[in-house]
């Protein structure tokens, strides 16, 4: 990589990115930078373009204007996918055929193994990723037998299996029960402590709040806020969404109320 020592380029950089779905403009020129080790949350109402923004970064949605760089490399030329762990927005990790947690998580390792055989180190990494999300005792169980929150944990383990430097997650907390939310928050905290960069779409900050360095709020495909996470409780910050704060983590910062503007 072409990074100068001391001043590394941002992990993710979007400049003036526009994207359309059909003929409808979804992103209307957004700028977004995520630095090394940063944890950035993308917030906004449904339809504000936050999922689309993430999907342009990983090349799932074509960009009509603007530039995207990953680790300082233009997105089109970027091919070092082992550095990126992706958690798509899913309610299930299951396909049309039964598969064990180990089998699903092992496919995350393909960004390193590609067409080669899985070696011992790969199998170890897969089991470690499963243990990280607290499912080690169920590694050989079918994913079809899991609850919604456990599905999400499997999807995150799959992203972690490649031991990525950057985690991109699309609503990892959607439909996740309280116990799984806590496991996921803990897993993420460990990753962040180890230096992983995180960009995630969230509906609400929830139990991840203490981890988040910066929040970027989208509205109608434009960035309306880029700075410290809004500590607001209630519907002012995120129109149309209740902010549910089910537990007060003892290491959490006190909740400060304030309007987002």
């Amino acid at each position: 990589m072409s990074s100068e020592p001391g001043r590394p380029e941002p992990v993710i950089s979007l400049r003036g990115v526009r994207a359309e779905l059909g003929s409808r403009p979804v992103l209307r020129g957004i700028d977004l930078t995520v630095g090394h080790g940063e944890v950035v949350a993308l917030l906004g109402a449904n339809g504000s373009g936050k999922s689309t923004a993430i999907r342009t970064v990983i090349g799932q949605v074509p960009v009509s204007a603007g530039e995207i760089e990953l680790f300082g490399v233009p997105r089109r030329r970027f091919d070092d996918w082992r550095r990126v762990g992706y958690v798509p927005q899913r309610t299930t990790a299951a396909g049309g055929v039964p598969a064990t947690i180990t089998e699903v998580v092992a496919s995350g390792r393909l960004s390193r193994a590609r067409f080669g055989m899985l070696r011992k180190a790969d199998h170890v990494a897969v089991q470690r990723a499963i243990a990280l999300v607290g499912l080690a005792d169920r590694a050989k169980d079918s994913v079809n037998a899991l609850s919604g929150g456990q599905h999400q944990r499997v999807l995150i383990a799959r992203a972690l299996a490649a031991e990525p430097e950057l985690l991109i997650m699309d609503e990892p907390m959607a439909g996740v029960d309280l116990a799984s939310q806590e496991v996921l928050a803990r897993t993420l905290r460990e990753q962040v402590a180890a230096g992983t960069t995180v960009l995630l779409v969230l509906h609400e900050l929830g139990p991840l709040e203490p981890l988040i360095d910066r929040a970027v709020v989208l509205r109608d495909g434009c960035v309306t806020h880029d700075g410290p996470p809004p500590k607001a409780v209630g519907q002012h910050a995120l129109p149309g969404h209740d902010h549910v704060h089910p537990h007060a983590a003892h290491d959490a910062e006190p909740i400060r109320t304030g309007l987002l503007s």
């Binding site: 049309g96 039964p98 064990t100």
Partner: protein
């Protein structure tokens, strides 16, 4: 085992076993990506190839393979680029393929609908030496792809979007799946026929997953079911003078029903074992207090 003395039966059994292996082997990926009926569509398209084979006086098996591969690639392209009415485009491909087959075979000097029938419903006893060679070569390709690339095909079929972010060449793998499915259809064409081939791709997988929890086990059990029913169907048709293709498909469905009936108690036992594995002090199920349970029994 006197049927093994006949050369036509040896050829028939070899072809049947290869179909029993290859059809579920590629079918499992189609079921996994919820395109269970893709094999059926390819079968329709392959009819044009059979017709062309008769018209041009070349091998219908190789011609059907070529046309089925082109058709499968077109289906995959429609899936990529098709916007809203992809299903209409697929329907036209299917029925165009079928109509083309009927048209070409009737234009051919040596062809008739009777010839076509042997491809539609299979004609195991007329499998020739050269058919067997073709089937062996094609089956080897299918096995190589479905087992050699199982991790990659699993990832793409499980979650295509995620697979793309791992850097796998998803489009190439999708095309390879489509081509392999097309080849399997033509491998199976002489055994169960184009109209029934999809059953052998889908039903053994559906039957296997009644019992299994992992993809690897589902794969193995589906292939075992496939081989059992193709051998069983072929031997039955020798003794009973019934059409082998239909016998094989009915046996497969029978296996599905039997395994489903068998699976219910197995699933129940597994659930009980899982409950027992939970921490002892923390019952997983609602427990009726002992006194009330006793009272209930007394009342009966």
């Amino acid at each position: 085992m006197e049927f093994l003395d006949y050369a036509f039966m040896q050829r028939a059994l070899l072809a049947a076993v290869l179909v029993g292996i290859t059809a579920p082997a590629i079918g499992i990926y189609l079921v996994q990506r919820r395109q269970a009926l893709m094999g059926d569509g390819i079968g329709h398209v392959a009819m044009t190839g059979v017709g062309l084979g008769f018209l041009l006086n070349t091998s219908p098996v190789w011609m059907a393979t070529g046309v089925a591969v082109i058709g499968a690639v077109m289906m995959e392209l429609i899936r990529w680029y098709g916007k809203t009415r992809g299903d209409i485009a697929l329907a036209m491909l299917f029925y165009g393929g079928m109509a083309g087959g009927v048209m070409f075979i009737n234009l051919a000097p040596t062809g008739s609908n009777a010839n076509l029938t042997s491809y539609l419903f299979g004609s195991l006893s007329t499998v020739s030496e050269s058919d067997v060679t073709a089937i062996c070569v094609l089956a080897a390709f299918v096995v190589l792809v479905t087992i050699g690339l199982r991790r990659q095909l699993f990832a793409v079929s499980q979650d295509e979007e995620f697979a793309r972010v791992t850097g796998l060449p998803v489009r190439v793998l999708n095309l390879l799946t489509a081509i392999t499915a097309a080849i399997t259809v033509t491998v199976a064409m002489r055994v169960v026929g184009l109209l029934l081939v999809s059953a052998l791709m889908v039903v053994p997988v559906a039957a296997a997953q009644q019992l299994t929890r992992s993809f690897a086990a589902t794969f193995a059990v589906a292939v075992a079911i496939g081989v059992s029913v193709t051998i069983g169907g072929t031997v039955t048709s020798y003794y009973q003078d019934v059409p082998p293709g239909a016998t094989i498909v009915l046996l497969t469905i029978g296996a599905f029903v039997a395994l489903t009936a068998l699976a219910t108690p197995v699933a129940r036992r597994r659930a009980r074992a899982a409950a027992a594995a939970q921490t002892a002090g923390d019952p997983a199920e609602c427990v009726i207090p002992a006194s009330r349970e006793a009272a209930g029994k007394a009342g009966v």
